[in-house]
Amino acid sequence: MDESELIAAAQRGQTDAFNELVLHYQSQVYNLAYRIMGDPAAAADATQEAFISAYQSLDRFRGGSFKSYLMRIVANQCYDELRRYKRQPTTSFEAFGDVDEEANPALINGDEGPESHLQRQQMSHVIQRGINTLPADQRITLVLADVQGMAYKEIADATDVALGTVKSRLARARAKLRDYLRQETELLPAKYRLEGESTV
């Protein structure tokens, strides 16, 4: 069955059909949640909730991009989680910035040497911490645009804001992250420092 047939079957209540869609999209959905939440456990919870929510509200899906539909739901799920953590900081939200390689072995690339791997891990760590410093709306916009590669219009649809708002949020998020990385990458090798001269 193709995607539209799976969606139609899932709308009729066939969980198996929906699980086919889950298997196809779960990696992208989890990655989005992971980059927004910055924590594997929180990302897994948000992903599971997003899939349940997507299945239960599938009758509202009226065609279009199913991927955008899922991304919108997981982005909203993460946004709600972030607000909840902000209101009830009993869970160490600060720890979200500490990307734990052991907890997320996927970040390890077996083809690179130990030193290169360590540097890349450090850089990923710094970038994720930088992302975690952003306000929730800017963070989600940045991840949707630069991690998921979504167009401005798709982001506007997914986050229910105007196109201009997407542009301004993305610009601010990038500028803040750039300033953050400038400070944090001074101790990293030159190739990781933000010292680019213009080559336009």
Partner: protein
């Protein structure tokens, strides 16, 4: 970037960010590229931003900790979401007092219109009642018709007593329903008389003795007076038309339902001459139709408002 305000810095960042994503118009792009060619600091900003975007895009894909397939018995539908209450129930709850007031007003309007309609219909029925019990009494549907009485009748009516169709029928005896066509040439134009309303298949009113007509007259309800007063305008016009010999446009046409009393017999005194027109004019028919429409509309609106108000109060209690 020194010397720029925060707003200017934000604007510049937005321009650079959109430039990286090819979201600028040709004109904006050309202008920015001219600035970049002249401003090394701006070039550094752009490159730093470009590297930042590249770093984020190069972040490794996180590996799944597990599968996220749903269990077989996952329910299909959502329970009502809290957001849904914000957009539907909450405003209804907030509107509950307003809806209550609106329901009250519309209900009162409905009752007033209904009562008015019933009252007028009741008058008509009251006036028509003797027609069924007393064969010689003309039925006059006050609510649906206009009663036109010649001024002479008013004069002839004894004080404290109101002239009714029964009077002239009783006094006229068997000649109460003559062929009115014979009268037309001798009088100003007036509607073609027909049999009185309600007497089509019944007994001839002419057989009723006068004393019964008198009884019917005295038993007439006071509402009859109101109907006659309400029709005073038409009565005056009828009188004027007869005096001047001009046709009265408001008089009934042959196609209208007309109940007309017979003309006075020769030899009878003028005060005894009584004529009664029972006319349903188009205006009255329209008025009655509008009244019905108003009743239906107000009744429906009342029901809907009651339903919505109850829901609003239920939502408010939640």
């Amino acid at each position: 970037m020194k010397g720029l305000t925060k707003q200017e810095q934000d604007d510049r960042n937005e321009l650079l960010s959109a430039y990286l994503d090819h979201q600028l118009s040709a004109e904006e792009r050309a202008r920015l590229e001219r600035e970049l060619a002249q401003d090394s600091a701006l070039r550094r900003e752009l490159e730093a931003l470009r590297e930042t975007v590249n770093l984020v895009q190069d972040l490794p894909q996180a590996e799944l900790p597990r599968n996220f397939i749903l269990p077989e018995r996952t329910p299909q539908r959502h329970p009502p979401e809290p957001e849904a209450h914000l957009t539907s129930d909450r405003p209804r709850a907030w509107l509950a007092p307003l809806l209550t007031a609106a329901t009250t007003i519309v209900s009162l309007l409905f009752v007033v219109v209904l009562a008015g309609d019933l009252l007028l219909a009741g008058l008509g029925q009251t006036a028509a009642l003797p027609e069924r019990t007393e064969p010689n009494v003309l039925g006059v549907e006050v609510a649906d018709t206009e009663v036109v009485e010649e001024p002479a009748v008013q004069v002839a009516t004894p004080p404290g007593r109101i002239a009714t169709p029964g009077d002239e029928i009783g006094e006229r005896g068997e000649e109460s329903v003559p062929d009115a066509d014979e009268e037309l040439p001798q009088r100003p134009p007036r509607p073609t008389p027909t049999r009185p309303v309600g007497m089509e298949g019944g007994a001839e009113p002419t057989e009723a003795p006068d004393d019964k007509a008198e009884a019917a007259t005295t038993a007439e309800p006071p509402a009859e007076q109101e109907s006659q007063a309400a029709n005073g305008e038409l009565t005056m016009e009828a009188e004027r038309a007869r005096d001047t010999g001009e046709p009265d446009e408001r008089r009934p046409t042959p196609t209208q339902a007309v109940a007309i009393a017979p003309p006075a017999e020769e030899g009878r005194s003028a005060p005894e001459e009584e004529e009664t027109y029972v006319v349903e004019s188009p205006r009255q028919a329209t008025r009655r139709f509008l009244l019905r429409v108003a009743e239906i509309g107000l009744g429906g609106a009342t029901l809907i408002l009651v339903f919505v108000t109850l829901r609003a109060w239920r939502a408010r209690r939640r």
